[in-house]
């Protein structure tokens, strides 16, 4: 079709300008996709949270431990099926620089609490059989090239390890998360090993940072949370019981209003690129003014000439925008590997792709609408008098 050919040829006429505009669109849309994916990653825990999981923590702060004696009292509340101690360990690998999370948990309760932890190598039974046994996420194992049966040494930054070898864990199972509620970069190990070691090295019984609860499917979450909080209204340590989603949301808010900053940066990038595209299309319009007059003289309607201008804008922005979107999707595995420890759920979701596609089309329409309207209103005689 000559009309489409015409649009392509006009873009090809000023190759450098077209390439630069397309290049800036590629960068802008890639950035927008990446920034949104980071927010999605931060929010993954919240989105993946289950309604039937509750988290009990100190009413003072997440950094204040709860006594272990609370476990049996909480477990007695009607509607609670599972309760699991959950303690942040905060260890560091002696040689690897990359940080990853480790938790001491009631290993027997973990699979009941999180059925999303799907074991792909070894088994929970193997972990249970080994006092120093641990289960690690597949992403974590891949990052450090860990194998089943391998010993993982850790330096305790909060809890000093046993004299001599320090903290030693043996990988007895590797899991793959089946939901974004679970991070694939985590190491879980036995509460008993943790407690015994802390008692022997620090001379104290450790508390637990949180209790994770799983309720019966038809249980009243609000009533259970209220009952749990009421148990400790008079101390010794008051607690807050929230849904898993609320608990996860705390972490997102801890790093500040990230979605707002990302939206602000993304908005800035978008405005800059819209202005650049409008400028490009206005230049194109000025250069094609005479040709628009010719087209009208040979019988093209005002609308079809405007349509050509709009099509040129859409093609220009589409090439750049969809190029950026493709780049974001293609770079997803690499970025996930690179950002894994900080943004475990990094993924360019279908929603992000749709949003970016809609933005691309919107940029094309906005950039093309002014030149298109001008082309539409153009008087043939004046256009033919103009010189390119």
């Amino acid at each position: 079709m000559v009309s489409f050919k015409l649009v392509r040829r006009y873009l090809g006429k000023h190759k450098v300008r077209s390439i630069l505009t397309i290049g800036s669109l590629v960068v802008a849309l890639f950035l927008l996709c990446m920034l949104r994916s980071l927010v999605v990653a931060l929010d993954a825990g919240v989105r993946g949270a289950k309604r039937d999981r509750l988290v009990v923590q100190s009413a003072v702060s997440l950094f204040v431990d709860l006594p272990q004696s609370y476990q049996s009292k909480i477990a007695a509340v009607e509607g609670i099926e599972t309760i699991c101690k959950w303690q942040w360990f905060g260890g560091r690998h002696p040689t690897e620089e990359a940080f990853f999370a480790q938790f001491a948990v009631d290993m027997s309760e973990l699979p009941k609490l999180y059925p999303e932890i799907a074991i792909v190598e070894g088994s929970f039974a193997d972990v249970a059989a080994e006092r120093r046994g641990c289960v690690v996420g597949r992403t974590l194992a891949k990052t450090f090239n860990w194998q089943l049966g391998q010993t993982v040494p850790l330096l305790g930054t909060i809890f000093p390890g046993p004299p001599g070898d320090g903290w030693q864990f043996t990988i007895k199972a590797i899991y793959e998360p089946t939901s974004s509620a679970v991070d694939g970069n985590t190491l879980f190990f036995h509460w008993d090993y943790f407690e015994e070691t802390v008692e022997s090295t620090m001379g104290m019984t450790p508390g637990t940072g949180t209790y994770f609860l799983r309720t019966a499917p038809d249980a009243d979450q609000v009533a259970i949370a209220g009952a749990v909080e009421q148990l400790f209204d008079n101390g010794p340590q008051r607690v807050t019981c929230s849904t898993e989603a609320e608990f996860q949301a705390q972490f997102v808010s801890m790093v500040g209003n990230v979605p707002f900053f990302v939206a602000a940066i993304g908005g800035g990038v978008l405005i800059a690129i819209v202005l650049a595209c409008i400028n490009t299309m206005l230049m194109a319009f000025r250069e094609q003014l005479h040709d628009a007059g010719i087209l009208k003289a040979v019988g093209f309607t005002d609308g079809s000439v405007a349509g050509l201008m709009l099509a040129e804008s859409l093609l220009l922005c589409g090439l750049g925008g969809f190029g950026g979107i493709a780049l974001a999707k293609l770079s997803e595995p690499g970025l996930r590997a690179a950002l894994g420890s900080m943004f475990p759920g990094y993924e360019v979701t279908g929603e992000t792709l749709l949003l970016a596609s809609a933005l691309t089309l919107a940029v094309g329409l906005v950039a093309g609408v002014v030149p298109a309207l001008r082309a539409r209103a153009l008087r043939v005689v004046e256009a033919l008098r103009s010189v390119e």
Binding site: M1, V2, S3, K5, L6, R9, Y10, G12, K13, H290, D291, G293, I294, L295, K296, A297, V298, G299, F300, T301, D302, G303, R379, V380, V381, L384
Partner: protein, 239 residues
């Protein structure tokens, strides 16, 4: 007596220039018959190009009636006027006005994209038009790869591609050397004689005007005299 191909009745066209109203066409009355080759002459500012633009539907008269190829142009809206132009009028401009990013064939094919013809039919029509103007083998050349005379012949091929009733030529030889100008005039004469196209050509050149069958003189926006060339000048000898 058959209806004239072009009929202008009490046509006025005014422009505003620096707060002053300039009357370019001042109640012009004119009739042109189908199948004739007219030359439109007159001093600068006499309204020749303005009249041509009005007849071609590129501009609108302020007053009066203009009937061309059976259509009263004042009755047509912008889109209808564009469609009417595509079907009834072919333009040949002094500056050729080819689209620089398209090849000769694609330029000729351009008005045909507005017709219901298939892609192959459009190609065939465009090739035929280029052959008719003697540019066979130049189909894939861009305008900048052609001489002025060849560009003008591509413009003529584009003008006739959709088989319009009227050809409007505004100083078609103004930018050409003598030889190329003569070739273009030969071509216009042939289109009139063989294909019975009604041609209206604006020109300052008496040699070009001599190739038409009738010469219409405009003066201060009004019809002056009409001269009939008893025997239009023969094609110039090719050197």
């Amino acid at each position: 007596m058959s209806e004239p191909m072009i009929a202008a009745r009490r046509v006025f066209k005014r422009y505003q220039r620096g707060g002053e109203t300039l009357t370019v066409l001042d109640g012009l009355d004119l009739e042109m018959e189908e199948g004739r080759f007219y030359a439109l002459m007159g001093p600068s500012g006499s309204g020749k190009t303005t009249l041509l633009n009005l007849i071609g539907g590129l501009d609108q008269a302020d007053e009066g009636e203009l009937v061309v190829a059976g259509a009263n142009l004042a009755d047509l809206g912008s889109a209808d006027l564009a469609r009417w132009r595509a079907a009834n009028v072919g333009f040949v401009f002094q500056g050729f006005n080819l689209i620089p990013v398209l090849t000769a064939l694609e330029n000729v094919e351009l008005p045909l994209t507005l017709t219901p013809l298939s892609k192959k039919e459009r190609r065939d029509h465009a090739r035929f038009a280029l052959k008719l103007v003697g540019l066979e083998g130049r189909e894939d050349h861009r305008p900048q790869q052609l001489s002025g005379g060849q560009e003008q012949r591509v413009a003529i091929a584009r003008a006739i591609a959709s088989d319009p009733k009227v050809l409007l030529a505004d100083e078609p030889t103004g930018d050409l050397d003598r030889k190329s100008a003569s070739d273009v005039l030969d071509l216009l004469a042939r289109l009139n004689e063989e294909f019975k196209k009604t041609i209206l050509m604006v020109t300052h050149d008496p040699f070009a005007a001599a190739r038409a069958s009738l010469v219409v003189h405009l003066d201060k926006g009004q019809l002056g005299r009409i001269e009939r060339n008893a025997a239009p000048a023969a094609p110039a000898a090719r050197s």
